[in-house]
Subunit: 316 residues, 2 copies
């Protein structure tokens, strides 16, 4: 029997909440079910062991907003603790949904589990000198400056829409719970881990300490893929393929590219910062760290892309 | 080498938040550290593999309050989803603290992981006909009755302090993620699971669905102990021993009791409902399900109690 390949799947934001939705639990659960239908196919193919990671932007945004709104009646938690809460929330939805779909086809005995995951970042990462990732609610200028004074928040004006808190987005170095995640994979569980890019922690004399930061979920997914020795790293987003000359008349999908080609296209400016660029960067890193292939595609094309029939595949 | 014994430890509320505290993250983390110092000793003794479960009353209470207060700006999550969030929150605190203390003595390589845990209850459990467990904030009578109308909440007046929502407290039947938890224990991880009594779910044609309910954490801990085949079930509370004639001049600590004795004392009314009674009930169940010994004691006496030198030990 051929050994099953470990695939780490990074789910895009749309996998849990669609633009324009209010974020009720029912809406989110329905989206998660649509997503898990695709993931179920991968499990049922018998070829893959799946490890799922996911974004948490809207969810942690809501938790932050709840913390802030209720601060007069309940002690607000730090951002990284809100991140831990969102891992419980989203992990629960995915693990239940994936189980229910497997159960539907008589495979309910495959264990699915969510591991609360800390991700180590370097306390000297230059990102800490330049907080740039907006999180949480919009404020008036006055309120933003008060928060900056009182809590030491970094705040920035966000393109005419108001002021927001900005936090550092440091590079992920290590999935701290990698050993437990590996144990679960080895014992045939499907695992959900490193949600929202992980709970960011720094090491001080080997001891962990939470920090208010946001780790890019695709870069954290790459770390996860390396740390669990995955063969394939699959990044799901809202387009079927990476494009050259995106949104111009010369737009052209890329089916396959080598790391070298990917770097050239990147240097030529084909990939939008904060959007496709970090995904391509994560894919490049994965291959350079010894991974077999990285794939960037949409949820609907995921199975085909794993078979090399869709999406963009990046190899050495 | 003697095989390590699996011990399931149910932490009492004081382990995370002390009465009268505000519930800031710093306070909670400090309490968790004090607790984890005791747990670290168990790990370091080399005799035990530990599985930790814990209450979540104050934490899920705050999350509910945040959800309610912010309902105009962020879609509130159901109670059971708030429970999932609290597992992320508390699991993070315990796993980080336990690691840091192990790291302090050069044992930072022992993996510690939190598993988001669903606990199956019977949808026909009579508790669903008689919701009695108060959760969340206090309301005025008017507000309580409006919530009862609008959301179908059951509400009750709480001893002159105001009105509260009450939910069912059904019996735990199965720790749904038991397989994953067992895998982790087998691979020498310390595991945190079934926090807050677990996320209550019912099965419909084998599929899981969350329900608004609260499962007693000691009874869920007992299920966990059975499901992971623990030898010892250790319930930590705020007294060193179970007492006969508690808070009377005839008060007397119990060092050891058989299941039969425990049942007799219970029938004689020695154990307060909603307090010591469910703990003794959980201990009895554990032994009747084949467990070796159940122990009820305080955090400070936990190590001594494991050696038979303190606490109350219940055996066949």
């Amino acid at each position: 029997m051929e050994e099953k390949k470990v695939v780490v799947i990074a789910l895009g934001g749309n996998a849990i909440l669609q633009p324009g939705q209010k974020g009720t639990f029912e809406e989110q659960m329905k989206n998660v079910e649509t997503t898990c239908k695709q993931l179920t196919q991968m499990v049922l193919s018998g070829k893959y062991k799946i490890v799922i990671t996911h974004g948490n932007g809207p969810q942690v945004g809501n938790i932050l907003l709840q913390n802030e709104t209720a601060k007069g009646v309940a002690a607000p938690m730090p951002l990284y603790v809100c991140g831990a809460e969102s891992q419980g929330l989203i992990g629960y939805m995915i693990q239940q949904s994936l189980h229910n779909l497997l159960q539907d086809v008589g495979k309910g005995d495959i264990p699915v589990a969510t591991v609360v995951t800390q991700v180590v970042v370097d306390k000297n990462d230059p990102a800490f000198q330049n907080p740039s990732k907006p999180v949480g609610p919009f404020y008036s200028e006055e309120e933003a400056k008060r928060l900056a004074d009182e809590k030491g928040y970094h705040v920035k004006e966000d393109a005419g829409r108001g002021w927001r808190r900005v936090v550092p987005s440091p590079d992920p170095l290590e999935i701290f719970e990698k050993e437990a995640i590996r144990q679960l994979i080895a014992a045939r569980s499907s695992v959900i881990a490193s949600g929202g890019g992980g709970i960011p922690v720094v090491k001080k004399d080997g001891k962990l300490e939470g920090v208010d930061a946001v780790i890019d979920k695709d870069l954290a997914g790459e770390r996860l893929a390396v740390d669990v020795e995955a063969k394939v790293f699959l990044i799901l987003t809202d387009v079927d393929q990476v494009k050259l000359n995106y949104k111009t008349p010369q737009e052209k999908g890329i089916s396959k590219m080598t790391v070298e080609e990917a770097k050239r296209y990147r240097d030529e400016g084909h990939f939008a910062k904060g959007s496709m660029e970090p995904k391509v960067r994560a894919a490049i890193r994965f291959i350079e760290a010894g991974g077999e292939k990285a794939i960037i595609t949409s949820l609907g094309k995921a199975m085909d892309a794993l078979e090399g029939k869709a999406g963009t595949t990046i190899t050495r």
